[in-house]
Symmetry: D2
Subunit: 142 residues, 4 copies
């Protein structure tokens, strides 16, 4: 599934601008990573909730797009468990809860580099008729 | 409350890096704005869910910090209603649902420049004992 | 839309067993009511979260089924704002946030008889191909 | 922890009225069970979302009250994965995600008697200063 991972790393501009990298994207699962930098902080000098959400969301997006058809998130929720300071390396691991014909659901755990739970995330995706990666793109990347 | 607005615009680095500006921050409410640029798009060439979430989250953060004490988000949920293309100007309006002694809740509506609903967001905040803006900072800004 | 209201009041056995009545069900909206009795309380002698959820959920179900096709809830969230004692009369008002081809979303406010906000609820529904009320049932009720 | 389990089974009237039994309540975890009867069905003749929510909520309530102080739910979300017919035996297993000084979080999985996932639930609780079970009650039950 490195084609999916490479496609997302290349085309997802908000993830790239936010310093988030997709490490793996497999059959219904995905792993993303972000090293917390000064640019990720909020006014309280801890990591911004939006940055943690975006990290989890990228893992969710990759996992939900690993089933053949393009999928878009329709809703998501996040629980913040532990504040995070600059320098931490966060990873987000997505796993599939279910995958129906038009809907699928994923749970994501965000952990720091000491394996402590930082946030939990759950997202629901809607499957579109088209594939995420155009055929022309697949040919180009081969 | 322009002190709060200015403080957040100056100190929230992830919002700034994401091109999000806080326009107003009043008694339990706040308004934030983001013009969708290429850097906000995902692999499907529509606005990234994390960018919309971050916009809503900034309005939530400002509104929840407008009650005197610093507040941190403990959980949030978002529903995506309409995809958004590059060039749209999105605004997020937060309003207070409740404000108890230690907890408060806010609903945020994200709309495009044709006033169409793009996403709804709800967040819960936990009030800390300290104020958001240090006294020294307040003196400096006067 | 009294046909929909009557159908749900007659056929929804969990709502009936929980003492919940559907008052109105219109174009994308609905109103349900529950008088808090001893049987709705939890171990803390306040109304059980599940009872408030079920009240809100019935309004959500009625509103989401008012658009012609049967709809099933796929996810929902609830925020509890104020504890409720026995004797209170609670109402749940559902309003439509969006109604797409296969998905729709509703926000529900639960209030007590002093019009104080008790809980907020948001639900997403999935539209099935079939109508909620069978044609035979429609004929019978006419 | 059978004291907690027995207290809840005896005092939680909405759970009892809904045919829900608490099987276990331990250190941050709990297991509840419900056999789906006619009274749990909605107008589509499948189990009512409120009944599944109440089952999950009871496991959440028991788990969140197993840490010494009384706890009340402040918000919860549920995702429905599989419809359930009359006759199914559903169990809800709660596990602790975190337990801080004033807040705690729990994930609940609801499964049918073939161990298929029916719903996922996540709840946040707020710890009160008082214990759930009054001292007088503890003495009486000894």
């Amino acid at each position: 599934m490195s084609l999916l991972r490479d496609f997302i790393n290349e085309h997802d501009r908000f993830a790239a601008a936010s310093g988030i990298e997709l490490i793996e994207a497999g059959q219904g699962s995905a792993l993303a990573r972000m090293t917390v930098q000064d640019k990720h902080l909020n006014g309280l000098d801890i990591v911004h909730g939006g940055a943690v959400f975006t990290l989890a969301d990228l893992a969710f997006a990759a996992a939900s797009n690993s089933r053949g058809s393009a999928a878009v998130g329709i809703n998501a929720s996040i629980h913040y468990i532990r504040p995070v300071q600059q320098g931490s390396i966060l990873t987000a691991q997505a796993r599939e809860i279910f995958s129906h014909r038009t809907l699928s659901g994923y749970a994501v755990e965000v952990r720091d580099d000491q394996d402590r739970l930082v946030a939990t995330f759950q997202g629901t995706a809607y499957k579109k008729d088209a594939p995420l990666i155009p055929e022309t793109e697949k040919s180009r990347q081969k």
